[in-house]
Each structure stands twice: as structure tokens, then as C-alpha cells.
Amino acid sequence: MSTAPRADPVEDYLATLTTSLHGPARAKAAMMREVRDGLVDAVEAQTRFGVPRAQAAHRAVLDFGTADELAPSFQRELTIAQTRRTARVAAVTVPVLVVCRFMVHVVARDPDWRLGALAVHLAAVATASGLLAVTALVATGPLTRLLPTPHRLPSAVAWTASAAAVGMALAAVALGVTSALSTDWPLTAFAGVLAIAAHGVVAASARECRRCVRAGAGCR
């Protein structure tokens, strides 16, 4: 009769904590690596005093605190890291949107109200993305030591970025239709491709930011 191998409490604990956390992959991996190092150190410190390894691992996990108890503090840091990442992504897409708007403006030399409306739409999305990026980066950066980071900021950033991503998708569709009807189609098609790329990057980051906000709410 075979017996199942006994689970390692440290690995079980790390797996539980890792599953409950969401955020930028690199930041999360660095955080988990440090937690693993700390638990391994705690186990080694006890085994040096003759405590059996299994008992030392169990005690190290117990002293560490339950995953439910600690996840909110870890998640808060990851949520802020993801918020900053989303803000940086939005900041990078602003020049892309400005280029798109410029291209539409060049094409719209003829007085076509639809192209004018598209240019206004692009300018609005670029402005929203820029404001979002600056506010989030300042509030979670230089101002952090002076003012506490507003609790709802990650949620505001996640939803504003989601709205900006939808705006970029609409702009991409409009630019695609325009390029099919315009004589200067290479310019508008290029602007459309830029808008699609910007949409992809911002939408992915905003989705992860929403996941972090939900995970943080679930931890409370």
C-alpha cells in the first residue's frame, strides 16, 4: 500500500497566498520570492536548534500569519503597483493619440463633420488618459509621503483606463471606416493601427487593475 507524500506547509502556504494575489507579474514574483526566503530562513533558524523540519515549517507558517489575514496588505501594495503601471501605460498612449488626431486633422482638410468629430473624440480620449496618468502617478508617487493614497484611486484609474480603451477602440473603428472612404487612406489606416495597438495595451492593463481592485475588496 503506497502512502501519499506529506505536503510541505511552506509550499502550501505560498501556493495559497500566490493564488489570492493579483498584480504586475514581476512585482508579485519579487514579493513571493522574498516571502519564500523569509519562511525558509525561519525554518532553518529552528532546525538549527534541533526542531524537526516538519515541525519547524509548521511553526514558521503559524508565526507568519494566515494568508487571509495578510493578503489585504500584500494586495494593497500590488494594487498600487498595478495602478501606477496602468497610469504609465496611459501616459505612453497619449502621444499615440495625439499623432492619430494630427493625422485625422491632416486628412480632414475638406470640411467633413465626421472627421472633425473623430478628431474631437481623439482629443478627449488623449486628455482623459493624460489627466488620469498624471493624477495617479503624482498621488501614488511624490505625494504619498504627504497625503495618504485615496482608497478609491485604483478603482478610478481602472475604470477611467477602461473607458479610454473603449474610446481608442471606437477611434480605431472610425479610422478604419474613414480610411476605406478617404483618398489619404494610408495615413488614416496607420492612425487606426496605432489606435488598435494603444487599445490593446491600455485594455489589458486596465483589466488587471480591475482584477486587483476586486481582489482587494474580496480581502477586506
Binding site: E34, V35, D37, G38, D41, L70, S73, R76, R145
Partner: protein, 113 residues
């Protein structure tokens, strides 16, 4: 002291144990326990997010470096962290002096003379 009460003071205690030089996470925990002679009940897991937060605030910086032949993330105080620690110490002394004066007025009157 209960873990919840200790948690509220991590922002001052962690920089204080890092003042002499850089330490990795577990060494920070053992330094706090050693300095408090084991009187502080500390959920060791609370230290790691606190270290991350202090780094985000610019009070600490960290880098991976070998410790006992293993790469570890070591934390050290920044200049802003040293200034903040000096402020935290002075605020704490004023606070404990005020509480002492309320709890034990005769002792504080003796000290004043």
C-alpha cells in the same frame, strides 16, 4: 504587546532596525524581536508588505545581494528615511512623555525638578 498594537508602529520600528545597515526581511524580523527582548508579538508576515510600502514611500531602497551564499532582497534606509526616523523618534518621545505625565504625575513632577 499584542500583534495589532505592534503593527501600528512598524513604520517607525522597521527603519530603526535598518539604521545600522542593510538587512534582509528575516533579519529585520529577528532584529525587532531581539531589540524588544521578545516582548512584541509580531506576525512575521506583516513585515514584508510594510517593507514594500516604506520602499514605495522612498524611505527605504532594496536590492538583491548574496547573504550566506544565497541571493536575498536587502533593505536599507534612504536619506529621506533617516530624516523620517529622526522625526518619528522625537514624536514618540513627546507622546510617551505626555502619557507618562498623565499616568504617573508624581514621577513626572520629580523629573521636572
Amino acid at each position: 504587546m499584542k500583534a495589532d498594537a505592534v503593527r501600528g508602529h512598524l513604520d517607525a520600528m522597521l527603519p530603526a532596525v535598518l539604521e545600522p545597515g542593510p538587512l534582509h526581511g528575516y533579519a529585520v524580523i529577528t532584529a525587532v524581536q531581539r531589540r524588544s527582548a521578545g516582548a512584541l508579538e509580531l506576525r512575521t508576515g506583516t513585515v514584508y508588505p510594510a517593507l514594500n510600502r516604506l520602499e514605495r514611500l522612498g524611505l527605504l531602497r532594496s536590492r538583491r545581494q548574496p547573504v550566506s551564499d544565497r541571493p536575498r532582497r536587502c533593505h536599507e534606509l534612504t536619506e529621506a528615511g533617516r530624516r523620517d526616523l529622526a522625526g518619528a523618534r522625537s514624536t514618540w518621545r513627546e507622546f510617551t512623555a505626555a502619557i507618562d505625565a498623565v499616568l504617573d504625575p508624581t514621577a513626572s513632577a520629580r523629573r521636572a525638578t
